[in-house]
């Protein structure tokens, strides 16, 4: 479980987060939306341990975060693949850092390359792949270290709408089989509601949680849920507009 308690972060003179509090359950898929510049990415980077909070605290399973850890992995807005590493070594990168022997880490990587639908591209380099494929490599790389928590920073923002839809479906499928805790930052309300069990709406800078909405999961009866989702999206839109 992730607990953010009164988290405050300032960059120079610019307050990015002010008293941000939220609690994310194990296995939960939480989307974070908010106006641009509200500190969404900062929340992720703080949970990832890439920087430290100025005030407040972040606990993961009761232990404070101080630096990156094996329990978390991040998928970035840009694919951030090493241009000199082929798909196989890219996906195995996190395991290599952790000192997993080559044969073992490549077996894991091959498995995940299949999961994200890139079999046959093991020996391709990033510049030989489309943006969507690069993003899949980034996702597979994060999954390869088998983290409890997956931190995703607008991972599908830079791919075309059709590819995005496919990647969303894949992520939903992966989540339903692996039950990982996912914190998913996006500026796309449809995406946030489509994927998330819960949506956290952030206020404009300095960011804090303005609203938290639980998304009803689809039931066979369908219709009611559609209406619920519509209501949730309108509520988010309204609040987003008010906040800006």
């Amino acid at each position: 479980m992730i607990a953010l308690d009164g988290v405050t972060k300032t960059f120079g003179l610019t307050p990015a987060l002010q008293n941000f509090s939220a609690s994310i359950a194990r296995g939960e898929f939480v989307s974070i939306v908010g106006p641009s510049g509200c500190g969404k990415t900062t929340v992720l980077r703080l949970i990832a341990g890439l920087m430290a909070v100025d005030a407040g605290r972040i606990l993961i399973n009761g232990r404070p975060v101080n630096g990156p850890g094996h329990d978390r992995a991040m998928v970035f807005q840009q694919p951030t693949l090493l241009p000199w590493a082929d798909v196989l070594s890219s996906v195995a990168f996190g395991l290599e850092i952790r000192g997993v022997p080559r044969a073992e880490r490549e077996a894991v990587a091959r498995d995940l390359i299949q999961t994200v639908g890139l079999e046959g591209f093991e020996r391709h380099y990033p510049r030989q792949l489309s943006g969507g494929m690069q993003q899949r490599v980034g996702l597979a790389r994060a999954l390869a270290v088998n983290p409890d928590i997956l931190l995703m920073d607008e991972p599908f923002a830079s791919v075309d709408a059709q590819t995005r839809r496919g990647l969303q479906d894949e992520l939903a499928r992966i989540q339903s089989t692996t039950h990982k805790t996912i914190v998913f930052v996006t500026h796309d309300i449809d995406e946030a509601v489509r994927l998330g069990d819960r949506v956290l709406l952030m206020s404009p800078r300095p960011g804090r949680v303005r609203d938290a909405i639980t998304v009803p999961k689809s039931r066979p009866s369908g219709e009611e849920v559609e209406a619920d989702l519509f209501a949730i999206k309108s509520r988010l839109w309204t609040e987003l507009r008010e906040g800006a």
């Binding site: 978390r72 991040m74 840009q78 951030t80 290599e96 850092i97 952790r98 380099y125 510049r127 030989q128």
Partner: protein, 269 residues
């Protein structure tokens, strides 16, 4: 259609030696020699010997053992000095490029060495090491070291910070970031620096030997220059040119091998 003047956007193949390259280089060199020969015959100036007389002198000096002995001596200095310059230059470049305070401390020296004619250091080395090989090695070292360090420094300093953050997010230590991100990312520019450094090393070698050497190609050049024996001077120079071309070819081959990912077929850039 590819013509001789098609701009090189990407290399057509990954092979290190390809025939069309060799053919183009041979044609270019032959043309240069032909122009030289024509000028030398037309102008009849004392210090522009004909190509055959240059070749004859080079051959004569080779048979007499003067060039082989000088070449051996020069190569020894070159290899030792260059190996030191390459290893220390890359190390220094990475440290200066990655650590702000090292940069603040070292940049003035690097800039000074880049600006000041390196030969001005000869008296200093002379005082430190005396007359001999050590002084020549020191001079060649400085010539090559500066450009290798400067190129490595800028390569290491301009690594995409997002890639470094990515590695950190996966728990990479400083050392792992260096090994898995900084060094491979810097490698193309480091190789360019190593090639520039080799060119400068050869220049430094000849300068040092002409100035203070008692043996070596530069010393030989000085001796024949003093006798106004132009054919021999150019004969020795042609040996030097051949040496420079061979060494540069080797470094280029190494570069293409290490950085093959840059010239991948089917890449978007």
């Amino acid at each position: 259609m590819r013509t001789a003047l098609t701009p090189i956007e990407r290399a057509p193949t990954l092979t290190v030696l390809n025939l069309s390259r060799v053919r183009a280089a041979t044609m270019s060199l032959s043309l240069g020699l032909a122009i030289w020969e024509a000028l030398s015959r037309l102008l009849h100036v004392a210090f522009m010997p004909t190509v055959p007389s240059i070749v004859k002198s080079a051959w004569r000096l080779t048979l007499s053992g003067q060039v082989p002995e000088a070449l051996g001596a020069s190569l020894m200095v070159l290899v030792i000095a260059y190996a030191l310059a390459a290893s220390i230059g890359v190390l220094a470049g990475v440290l200066i490029g990655r650590y702000r305070y090292v940069a603040i401390a070292c940049d003035p020296y690097l800039d000074a060495l880049l600006g000041v004619p390196n030969l001005l250091l000869v008296p200093l080395f002379f005082a430190l090491f005396g007359l001999g090989r050590a002084t020549e090695i020191a001079v060649v070292f400085v010539y090559a070291f500066v450009v290798i360090a400067v190129m490595t420094r800028s390569a290491a300093a301009t690594i995409d910070p997002l890639l470094i953050e990515m590695a950190r997010a996966f728990g990479a230590s400083d050392r792992q970031v260096l090994r898995h991100v900084v060094l491979p990312g810097a490698l193309p520019t480091v190789m360019a620096g190593l090639r520039l450094g080799m060119g400068r090393a050869v220049r430094g070698l000849i300068n040092a030997e002409m100035l203070i050497g008692s043996i070596g190609l530069g010393t030989l050049l000085r001796a024949y220059g003093n006798q106004f024996d132009a054919a021999s001077v150019f004969g020795i120079l042609s040996v030097l040119v051949a040496l420079a071309l061979i060494v540069n070819g080797l470094l280029r081959a190494l570069d293409r091998r290490l950085n093959a990912w840059i010239e991948l077929p089917g890449s978007s850039r």
